[in-house]
């Protein structure tokens, strides 16, 4: 499972980080840097929640 990140759409809402702090790393400004996120076993539910919480729809899940 992978989360595709459209970094140009990220506006630093940080809802993904709230749900899945182990998956998403925020930069000093509190935004996501470009680069997709691999989801290790056991983090799938958090990844789903993170994707569904992004107001900008900057994240998509790839099963």
């Amino acid at each position: 499972m992978k989360v595709k990140v459209d970094a140009a759409k990220c506006q630093g809402n940080a809802r993904c980080w709230t749900w899945a702090p182990n998956l998403f790393e925020l930069n000093d400004e509190g935004y996501l840097d470009p680069g997709d996120v691999n989801v290790p076993e056991g983090e799938e539910e958090n990844a789903r929640r993170a994707v569904k919480s992004c107001p900008e729809r900057a994240l998509t899940l790839e099963e």
């Binding site: 759409k9 506006q11 630093g12 809402n13 940080a14 400004e29 509190g30 569904k52 107001p55 900008e56």
Partner: protein, 413 residues
């Protein structure tokens, strides 16, 4: 109170002109025991884009974009939909932008990059102890005075203002003075508003000049020392930033807490659930931000653009009420229901796009900590019998005079 309603521009089709506006539409004017969010939710049953005459404080009409997906398109495209409106300055007959809100992309991003680190999620964690200390001291003071209080006056507003003062580097001994200015600015007569606006501006200007000479470790010192592309910030730029900081965190946080207490006072079961299991408060606060947001971002089209088959002309204003997007059934299952443990919640209380509320992470912590400490310290509360809080719509939705009662005797009845 407001300027006269301006005529509808010729290019707006008559069938798209509504009688609704944020100030005088149904359920928008101040009303005892009102529910302005439910009132504006009814717009979801109508056309997705329509024209509202008199939808701004200066009487100008705006398009209203009702649905979440369309609002996302408008607010994510800051070049087509400009936020450069000089709202605060024009009320004083002046012209300077509040920064970064009233600066458009691409220039906007350099200002955000300067300020984002100061209010990032991680930085805000460091502010938690002081936020909690302020909440506790205001709640305990209120509690020591009796078993009922106007929580807007005694908690929500002074709480929000004291966090601002802390951030700006001003001692809390000036709290009452600032709360007075804030109250005049938000609720005063037009003359009081202008007077308060001038007072706030000159106070912030003086503080700026002081910190330029003798910097400390506060926000004002940071911005007076900062450099963008090698240049120091001008006096007007520092003013634009500090004024925005003051007004953005003021009635918004107070309104969010006010609507939360108003809701919880009328839903004792939900209140008890949060009190007995405080871990639920974080999700509940998000759901209440979805259900009771207060802000309507307004943008001006910089070119002709089509939305839902309607042509918005260059120069037209476009309003995106967060309240309707947050109850859009295309965005949320059971959108009209308040579900305090809702998990998938991409609400727009802090807007979409590049102007997403810079203070959102601090605001969230203020709201959660405010609720935690209030529920931990104040027993079951309800609206004081014989009183009726006044709610209002408008540019920023709010609730005034929220008298809560937590006496044992009342509880037993």
């Amino acid at each position: 109170m407001r300027a006269a309603v301006q005529p509808v521009p010729d290019h707006v089709p008559q069938e798209l002109v509504s009688s609704f506006n944020l100030f005088t539409g149904p359920g928008m004017e101040p009303a005892p025991m009102g529910d302005p969010h439910a009132a504006i939710e009814t717009l979801l049953a109508g056309p997705p884009v329509f024209f509202a005459p008199g939808n701004t404080r200066n009487g100008e009409g705006t398009w209203v974009v009702v649905r979440a997906e369309d609002q996302r398109r408008v607010l994510q495209d800051g070049e087509t939909f400009s936020s450069n409106r000089n709202i605060f300055a024009s009320a004083l007959g002046e012209s300077w932008p509040m920064i970064p809100l009233e600066i458009d992309p691409p220039e906007h991003s350099k200002w955000r990059s300067l300020l984002n680190p100061l209010l990032s999620p991680r930085r805000v964690i460091g502010l938690e102890p002081i936020v909690r200390e302020r909440a506790i001291s205001l709640i305990e003071a209120m509690k020591s005075r009796g078993t009922d209080a106007d929580v807007m006056k005694d908690f929500c507003l002074p709480f929000a203002v004291s966090i601002f003062l802390q951030f700006l580097g001003i001692g809390s001994e000036r709290l009452e003075e600032f709360v007075g200015w804030a109250t005049d600015l938000l609720h005063g007569t037009p003359a009081q508003r202008t007077e308060a606006a001038r007072t706030v501006v000159s106070f912030l200007d003086e503080l700026r000049d002081l910190r330029r000479q003798e910097p400390t470790d506060d926000f004002m010192s940071f911005v007076t020392q900062a450099r963008i592309e090698g240049e120091s910030l001008s006096d007007m730029e520092v003013r634009g930033m500090s004024v925005l900081l003051f007004i953005a965190g003021l009635d918004t946080v107070a309104a969010a807490l006010g609507f939360d207490f108003y809701y919880l006072a009328q839903h004792a079961d939900q209140q008890e659930l949060l009190r007995t299991d405080p871990k639920r408060i974080q999700l509940a606060a998000e759901e209440m931000l979805r259900a009771f947001p207060s802000v309507t971002p307004v943008r001006r089209a910089t070119r002709d653009v089509e939305l839902q088959g309607i042509t918005i002309r260059k120069g037209d204003l476009v309003a995106c009420p967060s309240m309707t997007a947050n109850r859009d059934p295309a965005e949320f299952p059971d959108a009209g229901k308040i579900v305090l443990n809702r998990e998938d919640n991409r609400h727009v209380a802090f807007a979409y796009g590049p102007h997403r509320c810079l203070g959102s992470h601090l605001a969230r912590r203020e709201i959660v900590i405010g609720l935690e400490e209030f529920l931990a310290r104040i027993p079951t509360f309800r609206i004081k019998p014989g009183t009726a809080p006044i709610t209002h719509g408008g540019f920023v939705f709010g609730v005034d005079n929220l008298q809560l009662d937590w006496s044992e005797q009342e509880k037993a009845q």
